[in-house]
Amino acid sequence: MGKRILVIDDSSTMRKIVSRSLRQAGLEFDEILEASDGQEALNLLENEKVDLILSDINMPNMDGIEFLRQKKELDAIKDIPVVMITTEGGADIIGEAKSLGAAGSVKKPFKPDTINEVLGDLI
C-alpha cells in the first residue's frame, strides 16, 4: 500500500488547503484522508492505516491536544508521527503538544515550502 496522510481540521477550507499544499510541496504520498476532529480521527484510525497525521489544535468535540493524549495510549497508532498545524503558535501549547508526542508544528498561515521543510523527513 502507498503512503497515506491523515489531515484533521474542523475547517473544510483548511483541509482542502493543507491537501493542496502537500501536493504542491512535492512530497511523495499516495492518498490523503480527512477527519473533522480528534474523535472522528480516532474512529477512522481503527480501520485505516496511515503513515503521517497533520492535526489542528483548536477543534470542537475533541481538540488536537486530547487527540494526542488518547492516541499515545493506543498501541496500534501511538508511533504514527503527528505534526500540529495551528494558528496557536505559542510556546505553551506547542510545548504541550510535543510533550504528548507531536513530531513538529506548522503555524498558519504557511507556505508549501514550510510544509516541505517540516514534513520532509517524516514521510
Binding site: D10, S11, N58, E88, K111
Partner: protein
C-alpha cells in the same frame, strides 16, 4: 501594544502567503459600524484575561472572491465553503492576535469560529472595550477587520 499594526501585519501575512491576493490596509475607522447588508462576518470570541472578539466583515462579493482565491475555484454564491473560509480567515487573524496578547503577559483563549451571513444584520459591540477597525482593499472591494478587547 500597537493593535492597529498587529491586525494589519497579521491580515497582510495571511493574504500574501495563503490567498495570494494583493492587499492594501487603510486608515483605522473611528465611527461605529455595526449594521451590515448582504455581507458575511466571521467572528472569534476571546476569553481569559482579555475578553472580546475579533471579526472580519465582508460584502458577499468580496467574501466569494477571497474564498475562490483561497480554494482555487470559482465561487458564485455564499455557501458553506464561503462561511467556512471566512471563519478560518478570522481564526488565523485571531490566533496571531492571541499570540501577541499572550506575549504581553495575558492568558487568552480563542473560540471556535462562527459566521454570520444575511441580507441585513446588526452586531452589538462589547461594552467599555478598546475597539480597532481596519479597512483593507483588494481588487474585488473593501472589507473590515475589527478587534474589541477589554481587560
Amino acid at each position: 501594544m500597537d493593535l492597529q499594526k498587529n491586525i494589519t501585519d497579521a491580515t497582510t501575512e495571511i493574504f500574501e502567503t495563503m490567498i495570494m491576493v494583493d492587499i492594501i490596509a487603510g486608515d483605522p475607522i473611528t465611527e461605529k459600524i455595526n449594521n451590515f447588508k448582504c455581507s458575511v462576518s466571521g467572528v472569534i470570541g476571546l476569553a481569559g484575561s482579555c475578553k472580546g472578539m475579533l471579526a472580519i466583515h465582508l460584502p458577499d462579493k468580496v467574501a466569494m472572491s477571497i474564498t475562490g482565491s483561497f480554494l482555487g475555484m470559482d465561487v458564485t454564491e455564499v455557501d458553506d465553503d464561503v462561511t467556512d473560509a471566512i471563519g478560518e480567515l478570522a481564526n488565523m487573524v485571531a490566533g496571531n492576535i492571541k499570540m501577541i496578547l499572550d506575549e504581553a503577559g495575558n492568558n487568552v483563549t480563542v473560540s471556535i469560529p462562527s459566521c454570520v451571513h444575511g441580507e441585513e444584520y446588526t452586531m452589538d459591540t462589547v461594552s467599555d472595550s478598546q475597539r480597532v477597525v481596519i479597512p483593507f482593499n483588494i481588487d474585488s472591494g473593501q472589507f473590515l477587520v475589527e478587534l474589541q478587547i477589554k481587560n
